[in-house]
């Protein structure tokens, strides 16, 4: 009978907590893909995925918020039904909506960096409203700039269609999601400590 010896590095409690939180936020973003609202100005529907991006940045900060979204994308690429309407696979990342999805790690990191004012985590409930809204506004800018770029590169669209049809018409819905994120952060229902 053969035996195998392997060195195992001890993992700190803090890392374990962060990995679990990141995977939870990744799964939450995936679950938000199932909540859809009709959009009168677009052939597709609006989902709550970007709310997951906001919450990842706000709750986990720039580093682990970004990691959470990388986990989300990896889980979806490997078959978890977490993309628009429960789809999955690498094909979703390389299709017309791929730019939005690929922007999520960067957007979560931007939201986290602004809300926490750097890599050190603070209590998000104590962050000022301007900081919260400013962080989410910058995150939205990242999502829709890269989303429009994705429509250009992956969808073969021209720049006017990408900016107007792929970004501007969705901004009012994003404002509502940002308002929801502020409400969630200011409530006592959840804590990230």
């Amino acid at each position: 009978m053969s035996t195998e010896n392997q060195d195992v590095d001890l993992v700190g409690d803090r890392t374990v907590e962060n990995v679990v939180r990141a995977s939870l936020l990744a799964a939450l973003t995936g679950a938000f893909a199932y909540v859809v609202f009709p959009h009168p100005l677009s052939p597709t529907e609006v989902t709550l995925q970007v709310l997951g991006v906001y919450l990842a940045g706000i709750m986990l900060g720039p580093l682990w918020g970004g990691v959470a979204m990388v986990v989300y994308l990896a889980a979806g690429a490997l078959g978890a039904p977490v993309f628009l309407g429960g789809s999955s696979g690498i094909g979703a990342l390389l299709g017309p909506t791929g730019g939005y999805l690929l922007s999520y790690p960067l957007a979560a990191a931007v939201v986290g960096a602004v809300v926490h004012g750097g890599p050190t985590l603070r209590d998000p409930a104590e962050a000022g409203l301007v900081r919260l809204v400013g962080g989410m506004a910058l995150g939205t800018l990242v999502v829709y700039a890269l989303g429009a770029a994705g429509l250009l590169v992956f969808g073969g669209s021209d720049i006017e269609t990408a900016v107007v049809g792929g970004a501007l018409v969705f901004l009012p819905a994003e404002a509502l999601k940002a308002a929801a994120a502020v409400g969630i952060v200011r409530s006592d229902a959840i804590a990230a400590r």
Partner: protein
């Protein structure tokens, strides 16, 4: 086939599709995609169901790009690029469906940990495995919330859950009278805490 080879084959297919987005190149890649589906023992028609969420984009983009504000009202030359890009997306999605349907999650996780060496790979592998497990729990929570909203608001649409969500199909078989719109069976009222012998 080893999941690492499958991932490499997917990446090579996507790269080839982006480099050769021409009618001839995409025709050749259609054959490769058909082979991938056959190897995974999947029906092309059943696999196309995964495209339903992307379909509005794939159809609308060529149509929007082709529309002109005067005669002849539609330009085939302008619609050609987006149409080829849409067909490219269709092929890449079909190949990724073949991977997803033929590869167990644990094998994919092992492939990711091999692909990304060291601690980042282990974090990613554990994170992906936990995300798979957490997703089922959160989807069940969403379904419960939806049922609670229906109990309070009847059939007024607040948000819709995609049919993939567990329980979303569960209401379909019920008689119409049993779906939403009902008053709560019991209304909790504040109860006075006066002692019984007062």
């Amino acid at each position: 086939m080893d999941p690492r080879s499958k991932l490499a084959a997917q990446a090579a297919f996507a790269l080839a599709a982006f480099v050769h987005t021409t009618p001839r190149g995409l025709l050749a890649l259609t054959g490769v995609a058909a082979l991938a589906l056959a190897a995974a023992r999947l029906s092309p028609l059943a696999s196309l169901a995964d495209l339903r969420v992307l379909a509005p984009f794939l159809v609308a983009l060529p149509l929007l790009e082709g529309l002109t504000l005067g005669p002849p009202w539609f330009s085939l030359a302008a619609a050609r690029g987006p149409a080829l890009a849409s067909y490219r997306t269709l092929l890449v999605v079909l190949v990724s469906v073949a991977y997803v349907r033929s590869t167990p999650v644990r094998e994919s996780r092992a492939a990711v940990q091999w692909l990304v060496p060291g601690r980042p790979g282990r974090v990613l592998g554990v994170g992906v495995a936990l995300a798979f497990r957490n997703l089922a729990v959160l989807r069940a929570d969403l379904t419960r919330s939806r049922r609670a909203l229906r109990a309070r608001l009847g059939d007024r649409p607040v948000f819709r859950l995609e049919p993939h969500a567990p329980g979303a199909r569960g209401d379909a078989g019920r008689p119409p009278g049993a779906r939403g719109g009902r008053r709560p069976a019991r209304v909790d009222r504040p109860v006075s805490r006066r002692p019984e012998n007062a």
